[in-house]
Amino acid sequence: MKYQVVIGLEVHTQLTTNTKIFCGCSTRFGAEPNSQTCPVCLGLPGALPVLNRQVVEYAIRAGLATNCSITKRNVFARKNYFYPDLPKGYQISQFDLPICQHGHLDIEVEGEKKRIGITRIHMEEDAGKLVHADIPGVDDSCVDLNRACTPLLEIVSEPDMRSPDEAIAYLKKLHQIVMYLGICDGNLEEGSFRCDANVSLMPVGSTVFGTRAELKNINSFKFIKQAIEYEIERQAEILDDGGKVVQETRLFDPNTGTTRSMRGKEEAHDYRYFPDPDLVPVIISDDWIEKVRGGLPELPETKRARFMSELGLSEYDAEVLVASRELAQYFEDTVALFPQAKTVSNWVMGEVTRALNDDNNRSIAQCPVTPALLADLLKLMEKGTISGKIAKTVFDEMYKTGKTPEKIVEEKGLVQVSDTGAIEAMVDEVLEKNAGQVAEYRGGKETLFGFFVGQVMRASKGKANPAVVNELLLKKLQG
């Protein structure tokens, strides 16, 4: 039978606050185990949580950027279960009154636009980390509570996706937005952006969803696709054999590309949520919402449209440049100093990106050639001081040394030769040395023109003004 896959995604984004959600411990990644803990996040008796205001602010940002309505009256709830990484025996989360609801994101897959609903976004605390530390003589599990009480936003989508590609497109979009908002560092490997996928199948044409499996432990975009594809195959096989899919949590194994059942966790799905009496309600005023709205950065979709309409970039260029907020900023800062968007776009997507990739995927924010320096270089090119070819050489030198383009051009004697007399001498020499080719050219083999240009450019070590070279060659060859 042919099946239609139905996918809903739950994303946990770790917020980039300085401190935890309910206490003043640092959230810095990679510190000595348990060094960033206090009575609140250790769950010691009598310790009282106090909400970090920044978390609410970030949640409102996320809600506004994903077209959600913001809940005015928020209550935190306790989600009760036992696990060694959860010292209190409950996780503080939100239940029936999440801070954001009824939003959506628009995605595009193979040219087709589609709207994916966002059911809810709620604030909660993270659990600690269970590790199997490599300590001699210790076969037990080890618990590090540095991460316990770190603020998370859980973003839950509607089951609106109908292919692994749609799921990836949604996730990438969401990832881009939280990065633009500056609320999450987006690091999938370190677990700052974690995804669980609810996957089910139904016969093509049906509108009744099948039983779903929840896939966990997926920490890259590539793995999400793999996990969903495997799950489609697995469930289709069960259904084809007349079996029933069991509703369960399954763990993705990146080594085998398969998912396996997490036994035993099922019975515990009785969380007995109730309002946490230790935390008073959070009332969000319209003023507060409007203030946050006013402080939102321009989001990628708007930016992309503006790059196309105001700066005349192609859709492809605009899409590449808005990929990250930093890249878009670099481009805009350069355009502000050298207002030829298309040229700047070519350089940013070309030389700049190539140099950064070759340099261990260095981030654009750390590019040694700043927008001001790049603009200086492009101005030299525009004035005709250097040729486009030389500009690339100068750029590489700028990247390596951090020097200004003027200085490099001066030091290396790279000023473009536009002096007709000097170029004419080189042209004459090239024509003389290649009498055979000249005869062929005059005999009708006009494709040789490029060869002559190349020879002259080489004779000038790349410094001859190509326009002048072309003009003189044409004149002399026809002459």
Partner: protein, 95 residues
């Protein structure tokens, strides 16, 4: 009866409590009488009244996003029954 023996067993399991048969009987009876007593509240008309989540009329108690320091690894682990280096040590968890 407001509560069954099975429900008491279930709640005990969720709380990781192991109860003897006799205890189960005792607690079922006690919980039943507690629930019957609380049930009297159902006689009140609560139409249109927002459920009370908190007893104190307070809202928006925040702290600024500023680090106030931690207590240090030694203090954090001081009450741990078992430790391994800077970790809490617990029975092996297999996922």
């Amino acid at each position: 009866m407001k509560i069954t023996r099975e429900q008491v067993e279930h709640v005990a399991r969720l709380a990781r409590l192991e109860l003897s048969e006799a205890e189960l009987d005792t607690f079922t009876g006690q919980m039943d009488s507690i629930l019957s007593y609380v049930e009297k509240l159902n006689a009140l008309d609560t139409e249109g009244i927002v459920p009370t989540s908190h007893a104190v009329p307070m809202e928006n108690a925040f702290r600024a996003d500023e680090a106030t320091g931690s207590i240090g690894v030694e203090a954090a682990l001081a009450n741990a029954p078992l430790r391994a280096e800077s970790f809490f040590r617990v029975p092996k968890v297999i996922e």
